[in-house]
């Protein structure tokens, strides 16, 4: 068992999930509560990675973050190293690739909060940040959990973007899915079976733990015993 690849995969998924939630919560709130017509374009862009082949996304990111573009050269100067073929580059790729898996459940969850509750909070002086943190997030907690689980597991299992953008550098970009690919290429089916089993068990256990801890649905309206 390659524990280095296992630890790297966990680290990548954890960092990616944390960044995604920080981006997706305000983005989903903007999509649900905003009034601009441009929000349809924003939502389309946030959903685009869902329909793009991962290798296409990985290729674009590889070019964008590499030394061929001014942006890639600027990032390299800023960080002291190029993003392509590095752990940081994998994080960037994973965040973009898994963005729809974080945004979509949150959009659905926030949209299901009764507009009358949002109106009541606004009348009581809640600004946008308080509306999101004190009302939408607590009432859409299950969607937040779903977004975190999907983002985490999707990152654990991603392959195309990782291979295109990160290659196969042990301890830096070799994740479990890359390790599995290498094992199959080397006809080491026994090792590939163990790695696959770890990925499957890990996913099932993560889902089971989180869904077993979910809370009962809370009625959005007051006065159920009228």
């Amino acid at each position: 068992m390659d524990w280095q690849a296992f630890a790297l995969t966990l680290r990548l998924a954890t960092v990616t999930t944390a960044i995604l939630l920080a981006i997706a919560v305000p983005l989903a709130a903007l999509i649900v509560l905003g009034r601009s017509r441009w929000l349809a374009v924003v939502e389309a862009l946030a959903t685009l990675p869902l329909v793009l082949p991962p290798t296409v996304l990985g290729f674009f990111l590889l070019v964008l973050l590499g030394p061929r573009t001014a942006f890639g050269r600027g990032i390299a100067v800023l960080l002291g190293h190029p993003l392509a073929f590095s752990f940081d580059g994998l994080v960037v790729g994973s965040v973009i690739y898994s963005l729809p898996f974080a945004v979509q459940p949150l959009v659905a969850g926030f949209a299901s909060v009764e507009p009358a509750l949002v109106d009541a909070a606004r009348l009581l002086g809640a600004g946008s940040a308080r509306l999101v943190l004190s009302l939408l997030v607590p009432l859409a907690r299950r969607s937040l959990i779903a977004a975190a689980v999907l983002s985490f597991l999707h990152t654990v299992g991603e392959f195309g973007v990782v291979l295109m953008l990160g290659g196969d550098i042990p301890g830096s970009t070799r994740t479990l899915s890359i390790l599995l690919y290498n094992q199959v290429e080397n006809f080491d089916y026994a090792a590939a079976g163990r790695t696959s089993a770890i990925l499957i068990v890990f996913s099932v256990v993560a889902l089971a733990i989180i869904y077993s801890k979910r809370e009962k649905r809370v009625s959005p309206a007051g006065g159920s015993r009228a």
Binding site: R35, R37, E114, A116, L117, D119, A120, A121, R122, L123, L124, G125, A126, G127, S134, L135, P138, L139, V218, S219, P220, A221, G222, G223, S224, R225, A226
Partner: protein, 239 residues
């Protein structure tokens, strides 16, 4: 004084109102669908603009402009010192009754907030509900708490959209009496929307009669509602 001049279209519905409410207590009376709730939401600043059906008009209260579409001015609902209580209590289900009432009191320190919550619970006669969750109280109790939550922020203008519909007659009358006294002491101007003529007559207020989005009459209750009152009395004597 509340001044309004509104011209709003919602599909086939057209609300057109231009008037001044000078009385401390004004009743917006009209049948269902007359535009009472739409009017109150516009006064509260909740219906800013629908994508293809923009709000046009002006709302001013005590000389302060709250909405003026000609100048692109629209004050956030939370900055209007206006409270709106509707038929649907819309209590936050994840918060206790006390936390619901305290939601708009973040600017107060803990002791002042607790004191204000206690005072509001006493006003609506619901002290025993402090720690209960909205899903564990009745519809009538939820309406009382919604009223307490709205009044806790100390509004200058109170908008009531049939907020006592879940209370029985005696409880509703008692609460209304206490509420009127409390509001008069604090000089809170109130606009009550109702389709119930007894509610409109009971308050002896200035009445705006709305029919299909247009103002039919504005004046003292006994004048504006004289024909409706006759119709009601004739109906009662016939039965």
């Amino acid at each position: 004084m509340l001044e309004l001049a509104l011209d709003v279209r919602r599909g086939s519905f057209h609300l057109q109102v231009e008037c001044r409410f000078a009385s401390e207590w004004t009743v917006v009376f009209g049948p269902s669908g007359a535009g009472k709730s739409t009017l109150l939401r516009l006064l509260a600043g909740l219906d800013r603009a629908h994508q293809d059906e923009p709000v046009r008009g002006r709302v001013a209260f005590e000389g302060d402009t709250l909405t003026d579409t000609a100048r692109g001015l629209w004050l956030h609902p939370g900055h209007r010192q206006t409270a709106l209580v509707t038929q649907q209590p819309s209590l936050f289900p994840h918060l206790s009754v006390a936390a619901n009432i305290a939601f708009g009191l973040r600017h107060l320190d803990h002791a002042a907030r607790a004191a204000r919550v206690q005072h509001m619970l006493e006003l609506v006669d619901a002290v025993e509900l402090t720690d209960r969750r909205p899903q564990d109280i009745s519809g009538g109790q939820a309406q009382r708490i919604a009223l307490a939550r709205a009044l806790a922020t100390g509004p200058r203008l109170l908008l009531l959209d049939e907020p006592f519909s879940a209370l029985d007659g005696a409880a509703s009358d008692a609460l209304l009496d206490r509420l009127q006294l409390w509001l008069r002491q604090r000089r809170v101007q109130t606009v009550l929307a109702t389709h119930d003529i007894t509610d409109a007559l009971a308050t002896n207020a200035e009445v705006l009669f709305l029919r299909e989005g247009r103002q039919s009459a504005l004046g003292p209750a006994n004048e504006v509602l004289a024909s409706e009152r006759k119709r009601l009395l004739a109906h009662l004597s016939a039965t």
